[in-house]
Symmetry: C2
Subunit: 232 residues, 2 copies
Amino acid sequence: MTQVESAVVLLSGGVDSTTALAHTLATGCEVKAAVFVDYGQRHLREWKSAEDVTQLYKVPLLPLNLRAFGASVASVITLSDYEVPPGRYAEHAMGASVIPGRNAVMLSAAAGIAASQGAQALVIAVHAGDRTISTDCQPRFIKAMSSALGLGYGVGLSAPFVHSTKADIVRRGNELGAPLHLTWSCYESGAVHCGRCGTCVERQQAFHMAGVPDPTEYADRDYWWSVCEVTA
Amino acid sequence: MTQVESAVVLLSGGVDSTTALAHTLATGCEVKAAVFVDYGQRHLREWKSAEDVTQLYKVPLLPLNLRAFGASVASVITLSDYEVPPGRYAEHAMGASVIPGRNAVMLSAAAGIAASQGAQALVIAVHAGDRTISTDCQPRFIKAMSSALGLGYGVGLSAPFVHSTKADIVRRGNELGAPLHLTWSCYESGAVHCGRCGTCVERQQAFHMAGVPDPTEYADRDYWWSVCEVTA
């Protein structure tokens, strides 16, 4: 990142991308904009978090509407009887590849926005924990996409946390004073984090492993402990 | 292509992609579907051509709706005062990169559809003439995208005409008995090809260079000759 002078950051409103934004600004890189991808799914609460975070950092927030893409491919998938293995629903739901091609489309579209903004790089918060879920989060995929998007549009991908765990990211966010209390992870659309869904469990575990006090309000604060094997 | 057993073909309804479909079928490859990208621009006539061609070949036609992507990025481009160099409008209009990222998004989305159809490859009709226009049509970009999409979704890109001229494609289409009379190139939305726009001129020149009788009805059949330097 030290050689990148200007970037666009993909911001979901969660812990990882909020820390990526803080990290990018801390390197002295100009952040031209944060791009929020609107899939048409549970996005209102996440969008609010992305707005709060970018207002704090005084970075423009640009929505990228990919709703029709998702619907278009999903309808094709339905036609071809594509099935998510039932037993692995939660694992799939936590990844980004329930819709094949979606991560590549998101990176391509956001790189297009970065190019139009005159930014050298697109920063993405993919981390080591993502790799177990889908092939389109793995370092070699990111590297290949970076090569392609660099050739096509002069925009490279920067993935500062590609070798980090989510706990590493929480620790880094805490060091940087990133507004982790403004971030949102929960899959449910309640007033506060449910504490029981896959991403709520992952969030609580990451704060615990990082040794950072979790500022989040959970409807159920104890559930995660019962489903995780955590070594303190 | 000889090792590819099943593919999805990107079909715009033009000469190049119609010939790519004919070529792919001629190699013995199963074509699971043809994907037509709907950008929300002058698409009705092209869509009709794509329908006619796929009906002839008995290949399913799948529309891919990328209208919202185009609108989303275009609005961002407007905000950032992105400008197409005025003197090069026609050149840009003939390419696919008026909207940065669009070719990468299209390939990614269509590869996602190919993956969901169980196809090994996505066939694209990019050719040598495209390269002068935009970096995201060049062989090294196609190769890098193929690498990324192979890693992410198990789908490789096949670009059988990447080293061919448009005249080569017309010649190949003619050899294969491809329904070039059903294809559409014109940027205007008339009942017949206008004969004067950039793609009409390119189309007529290609048939001429190929030495293949042009089956197309043009409103103005003589204009192209006056703007081209053609060596017979």
